[in-house]
Amino acid sequence: MSSLDRFSEPSLFILISLAEGNKHGYAIMEDIEKSYDMKIGPGTLYGAISRMEKMKFIEAIPSEDRRKPYRITSEGRLYLKEKLTEIENVTKLGFQRLGLI
C-alpha cells in the first residue's frame, strides 16, 4: 500500500499489532501483511523488535516454546499514542488544505 509508505515505520506497525494482543514474531509478521497488504522482511521485523525491546516499548513473555510471544508495555502504549496523534494531526491538516474537510 503505497499511501502508507510515509508512515511505514516497522516499529509502528509492530506496536499496533501488539496493541490488539500478545503475539510472537511470526504472528506479528502475518498480521502486518494481512492488515496493510505489505510485506515486512524478517530482518527488518527482528531489527525493530530488538530496538523496541531495548527501549522497553515491548517485552518478551517467558515461554518454553520456540516462538516467544511479545507484549506491549505501558511506555510502548504511550509512544504509540503519541505517534498516532502526530499522524492524525498531519492527516487532518492535509485534508483541510485539500478542502476535503
Binding site: M29, K39, G41, G43, G47, I49, S50
Partner: protein, 149 residues
C-alpha cells in the same frame, strides 16, 4: 537457513536466534527477504560493535578515574608530609640571616618555581571550568559535564 542466522552477532543469536530461525524455516524466502536479513545482520553487527566500544570507554573511564583518585591521594600525602617537614625544618634550620647567599638564591628559585606551578595549575583548572560551562569537553579522564543551567 541457519547460515543466515549466523550472519548476526553471537549476543543477538543467543537472544533471538531460535525464534528467528523458526520464521526463516517456515517461510519461502524471496531474494528480497534474504537481502533484508543480510542488511539487518550488518546493522546488528554494527550496533553490537558500538555497544562494545561504549563498554570499553566506560571501563577506560573507570580506570582513569581511579588513577585520578590515586593521584589526589599521593598529592595529599606529599602536601601533608611537606607541611610537617617544613614545620620541623623551621624549628631545626638556622635563621635566614645565617644562611649563605647561594643557599638563599637556591631557596628563592625553588619557591618561585613552586609558586609558578601552583598559579599555572589554578589557571588551568579555571579555564577548564569556564570552557566546560559552555560546552562538553573530553579529557583523558572522561567527559567532564558541568551543569549549564
Amino acid at each position: 537457513m541457519k547460515w543466515l542466522v549466523h550472519l548476526y552477532p553471537k549476543k543477538w543469536r543467543n537472544r533471538y536466534g531460535e525464534e528467528f530461525l523458526d520464521i526463516l524455516e517456515n517461510r519461502e524466502l524471496s531474494i528480497k527477504e534474504v537481502l533484508d536479513v543480510m542488511v539487518n545482520a550488518i546493522d546488528a553487527r554494527f550496533l553490537n560493535l558500538v555497544e562494545e566500544l561504549m563498554g570499553v570507554d566506560k571501563k577506560f573511564r573507570n580506570i582513569m578515574l581511579q588513577s585520578v583518585l590515586k593521584r589526589f591521594l599521593i598529592l595529599g600525602t606529599v602536601i601533608l608530609l611537606g607541611l610537617f617537614g617544613g614545620y620541623w625544618l623551621a624549628n631545626a634550620a638556622p635563621s635566614v640571616l645565617e644562611l649563605p647567599a647561594s643557599a638563599i638564591l637556591l631557596i628563592g628559585a625553588a619557591l618561585g618555581l613552586f609558586s609558578g606551578y601552583v598559579i599555572g595549575l589554578a589557571r588551568g583548572i579555571t579555564r577548564v571550568v569556564k570552557t566546560t560551562q559552555k560546552e562538553d569537553v573530553y579529557l583523558p579522564t572522561g567527559k567532564l559535564k558541568f551543569d549549564k543551567t
